[in-house]
Amino acid sequence: MERVRERLNMSAIQIIPINWYILLSAVLFTIGVLGVLFRRNAIIIFMSVELMLNAVNLLLVAFSTYLSDSAGQVFVFFIMAVAAAEVAVGLAILMSVYRNTMSTDINILSKLKG
């Protein structure tokens, strides 16, 4: 029982060095950037933006636990709220674009040029 209690009071941050979390976040962020550059479907680009936001969230949580400071986790809440708002508005814009062009290809949006 005592051992279980001891394990519960541990965290991965005491076993895994913080550098691995930095590396994981960097890889996740790069995948998000790759998605934005690689795809032309606007919905997939939104999803890649979500991936990048989540990479940053993961890093914030890792450092918050590492430094035992709850401010980082509160930041993550705000990022989640902003991400939810961004997705709602972005998808609404996408719907109206689709209604006008019958496509979600972002290259069609270059017609917006004057």
Partner: protein
């Protein structure tokens, strides 16, 4: 990681499902990092709300087939090279970074609701209120954009 499959799968619905798997993996990391409440919120908000929104839009727009036209191969190659270079730069700059030693003693209760609530409503009260305004504005904007035509 499943994240790569999000980018690489042709069918948008498969992309969404892989993204849900990625989010569950991230939630697992949150649990490992003693941020249990954040893990629960993450699953509810992302897997529950945002992904349903994505799936709903994909079904509504009838995009569940790979209609995406072929991009120029050079464009794809340059995108991959740019992302790879960014990864190299990030890893190279962060590999030898000196980490500040943890100044506070390790406190396993940081991720619990009690501590988070105290921080949220003491230090971050004004940003909290601003976030509520932001959500209201986003809701109004989404409704306005979603209408058929604006008179």
């Amino acid at each position: 990681m499943f994240g790569l499959m999000v980018v690489l799968s042709k069918n948008p619905i498969h992309s969404v499902l892989y993204l849900v798997l990625t989010f569950f993996a991230i939630a697992g990391h949150y649990v490992l990092l003693n941020a249990q409440f954040l893990a629960a919120v993450h699953i509810i908000v992302y897997a529950g709300a945002i992904m349903v929104l994505f799936l709903f839009v994909i079904m509504l727009l009838n995009l569940n087939k790979d209609t995406e036209p072929h991009k120029n191969i050079w464009l794809k190659l340059s995108a991959a090279v740019a992302a790879g270079l960014m990864l190299v730069v990030l890893v190279g700059s962060l590999k030898n970074a000196e980490m500040a030693a943890a100044t506070n003693a390790f406190n396993p209760n940081v991720g619990l609701i009690e501590n988070l609530g105290k921080t949220l409503f003491a230090e971050f009260l004004l940003p909290f209120e601003v976030a509520s305004l932001l959500l209201l504005g986003a809701m109004v904007g989404a409704v306005l954009l979603g209408k058929k035509s604006i008179k």
